[in-house]
Amino acid sequence: MNDRNRNIGEYIPADDDNIIVCRCEEITKGEIRRAVHDGMFTLTEIRRYLRTGMGLCQGQTCTKLVKSIVAKELGIRPSDLEPATGRAPMRPIEMYILAQDGEDMK
């Protein structure tokens, strides 16, 4: 049970808010912190709202970073936050290659 009205304090701007955290989508620490104060309490919601971890690397680099920022803002342990679900394809693949699928299944 995750009460979205619980008090997590005010968003207080910080010196390093302009640091880019998700490099693929160029999302800053400040944007992530503000999103938490706007109610995005899970990594999945942060991803839906800001696109963190939705770029070419699919969050391999930033998931842990985002997790620690969100956890700190919520005052919980990073391990309490579940990473967003892994999705196929595991690596970006061109449409024309995906389209050439099924030949071996005949």
Partner: protein, 369 residues
């Protein structure tokens, strides 16, 4: 915990209803069963905000939303919902396609929609990336698309700011009547929430929830899949669909293409967590490339699956339940819920506060079946 209105389901319908209620000072609690807001069809759809191809009974809802809400939604929600109103092209390449599109178009014209059939040449004038395969299309210039993720989260964000109380991970198992009225909502964790009105907007799950007060809605969970590509320079802003409905989608502000897809196989997939099939993305890529060969080098970065709640007659139930006073149903959106969500949220808030609804909802009665 008490509130004037208890909403069961934190999807875009629940969130937009909560927003409209909170804006008018009505106290509201939204209970989301999963861990995340917007976890069902709200974040698993192609983002169409379209009138063309829609069931005529739903047309007034979407026409109202397009005319009155979508344009200002980003400002209203302090969130870029990436709304583009640059038309919808529904594409075809065979005589059969032409028949399907023509049928849809004629029906829509009768309802007063600005939509018409065009040939392949004209379609390529509108979207130069279309291949010669395209021989016909329906064209509705007032259709468009938006970002379902930011629109859903935006409604949530603003409803919360206005005082709506959201609780996730709180799965509703039962509605309980008190002295003849639906008043209590009981969750898996044993918590009880009480309100004057209870709105059930939980997709297919609604069926199990309202059955606890003796109500059933004939609907089925249907598996839909979506793919997203890497970002590329902007190419076009129209919403796309096909006569075969094998793919639909658009290019987002971000530059990525979002395509909903349908493998054509077993829509009533196994129950449980929605699981992507191993072939749907490939099938969609073949369909997309046939009409848009220039997308063939673009990389697919992600795909996912989700359930939609497909109603027996393919339009939703948006209705007070007189035989269970206090209960309001909003489910069975059959995969068309996103575009009409802003209007549905407004109408549900009116139902919950016993005001006259802006639009007639009689087509969406729960007892029509």
């Amino acid at each position: 915990m008490n509130a004037e209105v208890i909403i069961v389901g934190g999807g875009i319908i629940g969130c937009s209803t909560a927003y409209n209620l909170a804006k008018n000072g009505v106290s509201v609690i939204v209970l989301e069963g999963s861990e995340h807001i917007g976890n069902g069809g709200s974040t698993r759809n192609g983002g169409g905000v379209r009138q063309s191809g829609r069931d005529p009974r739903e047309l007034p809802l979407v026409m109202y939303a397009i005319k009155n809400i979508w344009k200002d939604l980003s400002d209203m929600l302090d969130t870029d919902v990436e709304y583009h109103q640059q038309g919808n092209l529904r594409l075809g390449s065979t005589d059969k396609h032409h028949q399907i599109l023509n049928g849809l178009t004629e029906r829509a014209i009768k309802c007063g929609l600005d939509v018409r059939m065009i040939d392949g040449y004209e379609a390529r004038q509108i979207n130069p990336y279309l291949s010669e395969e395209v021989t016909c299309a329906s064209w509705c210039p007032t259709d468009g698309h938006a970002n379902p993720l930011t629109a859903t989260m935006g409604y949530y964000k603003m409803a919360r700011r206005l005082g709506a109380h959201f609780i996730s991970g709180e799965k509703v198992t039962e509605i309980r009547k008190i002295k003849g009225k639906a008043r209590q909502v009981i969750t898996e964790s044993g918590n009880i929430y009480e309100g004057d009105k209870i709105i059930v907007a939980s997709g297919y799950e609604s069926r199990f929830i309202v059955s606890t007060v003796g109500i059933d809605v004939p609907m089925q969970p249907v598996l839909l899949e979506t793919l997203v590509t890497e970002a590329v320079a902007p190419m076009f802003w129209q919403m796309l669909g096909t006569a075969d409905a094998d793919f639909y989608g658009h290019q987002s502000n971000h530059g990525s293409f979002v395509f909903g897809l349908n493998s054509g196989y077993e829509p009533y997939a196994r129950p449980g967590k929605p699981v992507s099939s191993s072939i749907a993305v490939s099938a969609a890529c073949r369909g997309i490339m046939k009409y848009f060969p220039s997308l063939s080098d673009i990389k697919v970065v992600r795909s996912w699956a989700g359930w939609m709640d497909s109603c027996a007659d393919h339009i939703p139930v948006i209705s007070p339940v007189e035989e269970v006073p206090g209960l309001i149903l909003a489910c069975g959106f059959s995969g068309h819920g996103f575009g009409i969500a802003p209007a549905v949220g407004l109408l549900l808030s009116q139902l919950a506060t016993e005001q006259k609804t802006t639009l007639d909802l009689s087509e969406f009665r729960y007892n029509r079946f």
